[in-house]
Symmetry: C2
Subunit: 222 residues, 2 copies
């Protein structure tokens, strides 16, 4: 798949705009764990994921993290270019969760395109609305779901992303996804183990009863 | 102030676009308490506040409310026209908190403008980014602030909005702003009263020590 195929506005750009964009885009590959964007101090630019998996999260003043959403192949990371829009008054962090390939678009190049091309401006609107929906879903989860339901949903999501029911994740990593304390996760995982839902082995969480985890996760979706 | 003065894109519209928009806009006044938009079933359209105060909130499946943000004079309500953008996958409710005047813009009229005018498309981007920032602030509050801090901040915010340190608000209303249970609010208000921060009288909460409430509210902003 060519890079252009990931950009729905591509065919609506003028030849000159296509040339500018093409000349400005840089592909890069990063290792799992690489920090691609770090809050408000830098205005990294947009990141188009062509391979792998990125995690977008925030960090509170106390250092507590929470995952906002994941970006997979074909997804565009907009908030790593927060300087493009005056009204973005929050910081996100972006880290690769797997070896990933991304295409970097400089913020000033994208901003000029957005101000010159209706297709780009409205693509940006849909992109932002989509991330807004992700965050509203998260807000609803936090307000209305218990931690056992959220942890069960997270374990299933992780198993889906990894396509593997043996998860190589620490309790601390899970806590940072959920925006809670490690102790809370450890306690709940031990309870899940006592119920036969998971097995906890050295560095691995094995999902033993996905269907029952699904029931727990879906509890408040009834 | 004319309606056009509230619309930063107005001067960038063509004469024909201005005429279409002007012909489609309807002013209306509503009483305090009026429900202006009710979730995903209707696509009300955009609401420009020219007077008064609107509250935008969500409701969980269990019926629990939480205030997302307030809209005051000059603010535009975008998410009451969620049908305009495919990627908006959440519902909000909009209610007048005071006697208010709003200008209604039909969703299909705004959508065509957005697809034809760069100024409107980019205004929409800034608008959405601004609301996104509000919701990210709320998320941070929920994750990182204790309920006493959030209640103290809310009481001060309400006193500021009403320009009055005697608040005519029920415990239930405060709970719905904060996304918590009424009992939690009542317990905390009684504690605030025992500390001399507020007086609780019939239907009125009197702020007696705003400076100390400010200290509590700011606690985790240290």
């Amino acid at each position: 798949m060519t890079i252009q195929a990931y950009l729905p506005f591509w065919t609506k750009l003028t030849a000159a705009q296509q040339q500018t964009l093409e000349g400005a885009m840089r592909q890069k590959t990063v290792d799992a764990g690489a920090l691609l964007h770090s809050g408000g101090d830098d205005c990294t630019g947009l990141l188009l994921v062509t391979e792998g998996q990125l995690r977008v999260y925030t960090i509170s003043e106390e250092g507590r993290e929470i995952t906002l959403y994941r970006l997979l192949e074909g997804d565009m990371c907009l908030f790593s270019a927060a300087c493009m829009l005056n009204s973005i008054q929050f910081d996100v962090f972006v880290r690769a969760e797997r070896p990933s390939a991304v295409v970097h678009i400089p913020p000033e190049v994208y901003k000029s395109l957005m101000q010159a091309s209706l297709a780009v401006a409205n693509y940006t609107n849909e992109l932002m609305a989509s991330r807004f929906s992700d965050v509203m879903w998260l807000l609803d989860q936090i307000l209305n779901k218990k931690i056992d339901e959220r942890l069960a949903a997270l374990l299933l999501e992780e198993a889906g992303l990894a396509d593997n029911s043996a998860l190589h994740l620490t309790h601390d990593q899970l806590a940072r996804h959920l925006g809670t304390a490690r102790e809370v996760v450890t306690r709940m995982l031990k309870y899940f183990q006592s119920e036969g839902l998971v097995s906890l082995e050295r560095g691995v969480i094995l999902l033993r009863a996905p269907a029952r985890l699904q029931e727990i996760a879906a509890h408040s979706l009834r």
